[in-house]
C-alpha cells in the first residue's frame, strides 16, 4: 500500500465561509436529526415537510425523503428502534450528515454545475445526486437559499465540489 496522506488535503476548518460572485457557502450545525420510517411516515411529524422546490422555514421541520421516510430536523427526542405502537422505525442520525447552506442569486446556477436541477420540475423528495454524491437538497428560508445534507464522511468531497464549481461564477 502506498502512503497517500499527502495526496489528500487534511480535513478543512468547517468555520470558514466561501464567497463567490452571487453566493455564500457555509457549513451549518444542526442539533438533532431523526430518521423516521414507517407506512405512514410522511404523516408522522407535526412539522412542515421540505421537498422540491418548496421553501421550508425555521429551525424545526422535516425533510421528505421517500414514500415511507422523513428526516426530522430538530424534532422531539424519540427512542431508537421499532415503535410498534406508532408503526415507526426510528434512528437518531444527528452525526450521520454534514450540512451546507448556499445563499445568493447565483445559488441555483452553482447547483446546476452538479446536477440537472429545475424549479419547474417538482419532486416530493429532497433526496438526489449532486456532484455524484447522495444528498438531501431543498430551499430554506428564501427561494435563493439552499440547504444540502450529505453523508458526514463526504463533507470534504461536497465542500470541494461546491467551492470549486463556485470558481466558475462570474
Amino acid at each position: 500500500m502506498r502512503d497517500d496522506s499527502q495526496r489528500w488535503a487534511p480535513p478543512r476548518d468547517r468555520g470558514v465561509e466561501v464567497t463567490a460572485p452571487g453566493i455564500t457557502i457555509r457549513s451549518l450545525d444542526i442539533a438533532r436529526l431523526t430518521l423516521i420510517s414507517g407506512p405512514a411516515a410522511l404523516n408522522a411529524t407535526k412539522f412542515a415537510l421540505a421537498d422540491w422546490p418548496g421553501v421550508v422555514e425555521g429551525d424545526n421541520y422535516a425533510i421528505s425523503l421517500r414514500r415511507d421516510r422523513i428526516l426530522e430536523v430538530n424534532g422531539p427526542a424519540r427512542s431508537d428502534g421499532w415503535d410498534a405502537g406508532q408503526n415507526l422505525a426510528v434512528s437518531d442520525v444527528t452525526d450521520a450528515y454534514t450540512h451546507v447552506e448556499i445563499t445568493g442569486p447565483s445559488a441555483l446556477s452553482l447547483l446546476n454545475r452538479g446536477t440537472e436541477l429545475d424549479p419547474a420540475t417538482p419532486s416530493r423528495s429532497a433526496a438526489r445526486l449532486l456532484f455524484g454524491l447522495g444528498v438531501f437538497l431543498y430551499r430554506h428560508g428564501a427561494s435563493d437559499t439552499y440547504r444540502i445534507h450529505a453523508g458526514s464522511a463526504q463533507d470534504e468531497a461536497l465542500w470541494h465540489a461546491l467551492t470549486d464549481a463556485a470558481k466558475h461564477l462570474t
Partner: protein, 88 residues
Amino acid sequence: MQRFPCPFCGLRDEREFLFIAEAGKVRPDTTQKISDEDWARYLHAIRNDKGAVREVWMHLTCGELFVLERDSVTMEVIRSIPLRTEAA
C-alpha cells in the same frame, strides 16, 4: 443522458437509477421442490427484447423499486408504474 420518472420523486437523471431485473419474474418457492431447469430459467433466462420492454428499476436516492416501461431502441420512456400503494 436519459431521465426516468420515479413514481414518488418524479423526473430524475438516469445516474440516480439502478437496473434491477426484467419485470415479470417470480421467485420460485424454494421450500418446495424445483427442478434445475426451472431454477436456471429463473436465474438466467433474459428476454432482452428490442423495442418495448418492462423492467424493474430502483431509484437509488429514495430507494423506490418500480416498473419502468421504455423502448430499448429509441430510449423513449413510456411510463413508470409504482409497485407500492400510497399510504392512507
